[in-house]
Structures are given as structure tokens and as C-alpha cells.
Chain length 198, copies 2
């Protein structure tokens, strides 16, 4: 029983990982189910034990993998005891965290699918709102710690995501990671000048 | 002869327009050649008089239609005699110019195709660089007219595009055009505070 359970979990995880990678590289429409199954090393019949369709599998993969990505990256900042803005800026400046060739997995899917499919639209709306809420929490924590003046952190989170997504897109378009770094530096300048406590 | 020439031009333009619309709505990979031809009202055989493939037709459509879009929208600002920043800000604030359901046609294609195909990558790099250069020209004109302090207009153009693209993406993700407007307002605040002549 226990062995079967582990096998099932492993097969499911292999499918999730392969789906995420293929969709990230080729887009949802460009990701062929046959390639996903080959990458996962799983037969189509086994897939149907876990997911009813390529679409259902993709939606679950997006939710689990992108949530995991945000979880490890941003929650470590809010879980700390202070230095919220410094940690956040350091994370923004760390271009090793980004894959500029493929871009942002969330933005790619919004661009591709939000206007084409209601189920994708709903899932992507939720993830985008979660992302915005995580950044809002970082700014709220920074205000409570006296690192920033009181401001509309919901709007600042929105603006920060816009810059971040636009910066990754610019670097993907130009092939130059410096375009990401330069854009992010101007976001930091904006926050330092208009929001910092003196 | 003359009539034939006009017919040819019309057929070509119908193909370009239909390709652009289908690619804008469904992405390049999601745009079926059959649907493009139906929309254009052109037979496949006629298409091959003008373009060797769906890909060639899409690349030409992107170049012509996006260049036209930038041309009418941004060049009118640089061609004016002054009020460069005001005209630019007014244009940014005019959300009627944007299709938030489909997003930005340039950004969509960068997200979808830049890492998948060298020809798309090259064409999209060129268009993105042109876009950046048009915004740089607006800021350069504003500096010459004494509306702004001297600054690195190349970097400011990069940042402006990042915000603009990220703002359109946010509105597409949330389904709320106000997310675009709020983001753009913070870009304008950044420029007003850090770059305006006093």
C-alpha cells in the first residue's frame, strides 16, 4: 500500500514537473501532450489516473509550481524579523533567479491564455492576485518596521509587479539581462525617493 | 495593368490585416492558416503569390502593423512643436487606446516566440528597439524644450516601456483597466518628481 502510494505520488509529480517545463518553454498551445508524457516517462493511460486532460494537468501544474516558486522566493522575506526592504531589493537585483530566455512563467501564460480560456483566466487571476498580495505584505511589514512611510501598499505592489514583469519582458525582447537590472534599479530609486522613512 | 496592381495590393493587405488580427487574438502558434485565409477571403493559392508560408506572412504582418501602430501613436508627439511630456502623459492616460483583453501585440509575441524561433526573435528585437528609440526621442525633445532635466533618456525609455508593458499585462491578468491607469500614474509621478525642470 505504502509503496503504491509513493509510486502514485512520484508519477503525479513527474507529470506536473514535465507539464510545467513544456508549457514554460513552448506555451500552453505549443506544448504537445506527447512531449510532456515522453519527458515525464509516463504512459497516457497512467496520466488519466491523475488528470482528465492536458488542460486539467496544465492548470494544476501552473497552480502548484508557480505557488511553490513564489512561496520559496518571497515568503522568506516576510517571514524574517526585519530588513524587509533590503531583502526585497537584494532579491530584485539578483538576476541569477531569472530565466530571461523563457521570461516569466506567469506573464507568459497571462499573455497567451487569459483572453482565450475562462478556466485559465480564473486560475491566472488568482495567482496574479496572490503575487500582488505577497508584495503588499512585504511593504506592509516594512512600514510596520519603520523602514517606509505609510503609503498605499496595494498600489505600490501593483506598480512593482508591473515594473518587474515589464523588466523581464524587456530583457527577453532584447536578449540583454542588463535591461532587467536597469529597470529594477529605477523602481528601487522610486521607492527610495518617494516612500523611504527619513 | 493598373486594375491588377490594385487588386494585388488589396489581396496582400487583406492577408496582412487578417494575419495580424488572428495572431493578436490567438498567438502565432494558435492562429490557424485556414482561419486567416477565411477571414481574409483569400484562397491558399493566391496567398502563395505574396508569401512563402504562414510564418513569412506573420513576420511581415507584425512588422507592418506594429510599426504603423507606433507610427501614428507616438510620432505625432515628437512631430509637435512642444508640450512633449504633457502629450505623452495624456497618451499614456488614455486607456481607450488599449485593448486590455488581448494585451499588447508586441509583448504577446515576445513572450510567445522570442525563445522559440530565431526569425521572430530578430524581428521582435528590432521592433522593441524602435519602440525604445521613439520614447527616447520624446524625452530628448522634452529636455531640449526645457520640460525636463538632462538625464539618461535611453534608460528612462527602457523603464517607461517596462512599466507600460507591465501595466497592460496587469490589466489583462486582473481584467481591471484601473490597474493599467494606476501603474501609469506612478510612472508619471516618478518622472515628475525625479526628472522635471523646476
Amino acid at each position: 500500500m505504502c509503496y503504491n502510494f509513493i509510486m502514485k505520488e512520484t508519477t503525479r509529480q513527474k507529470l506536473i514537473d514535465a507539464t510545467y517545463e513544456e508549457v514554460y518553454s513552448h506555451g500552453y498551445q505549443g506544448a504537445a501532450l506527447a512531449d510532456i508524457l515522453t519527458k515525464a516517462g509516463v504512459h497516457k493511460g497512467s496520466m488519466y489516473h491523475f488528470f482528465g486532460s492536458k488542460k486539467e494537468m496544465a492548470l494544476v501544474a501552473i497552480q502548484e509550481k508557480i505557488a511553490e516558486r513564489f512561496g520559496t522566493r518571497y515568503r522568506s522575506i516576510t517571514d524574517a524579523e526585519g530588513g524587509y526592504l533590503e531583502s526585497f531589493f537584494a532579491m530584485l537585483r539578483d538576476d541569477s533567479l531569472r530565466d530571461f530566455s523563457r521570461g516569466c512563467p506567469l506573464a507568459n501564460l497571462v499573455q497567451e491564455m487569459s483572453n482565450l480560456d475562462e478556466d485559465f483566466d480564473r486560475v491566472l487571476k488568482e495567482i496574479y492576485a496572490q503575487f500582488r498580495n505577497v508584495l503588499k505584505q512585504i511593504y506592509d511589514a516594512a512600514i510596520r518596521a519603520g523602514e517606509m512611510k505609510t503609503c498605499d501598499t496595494n498600489k505600490l505592489a501593483l506598480f512593482s509587479i508591473a515594473v518587474l514583469e515589464g523588466a523581464i519582458l524587456s530583457a527577453k525582447a532584447s536578449g540583454n539581462p542588463k535591461d532587467y537590472l536597469d529597470s529594477v534599479e529605477m523602481l528601487i530609486e522610486y521607492i527610495e525617493i518617494t516612500k523611504r522613512s527619513v
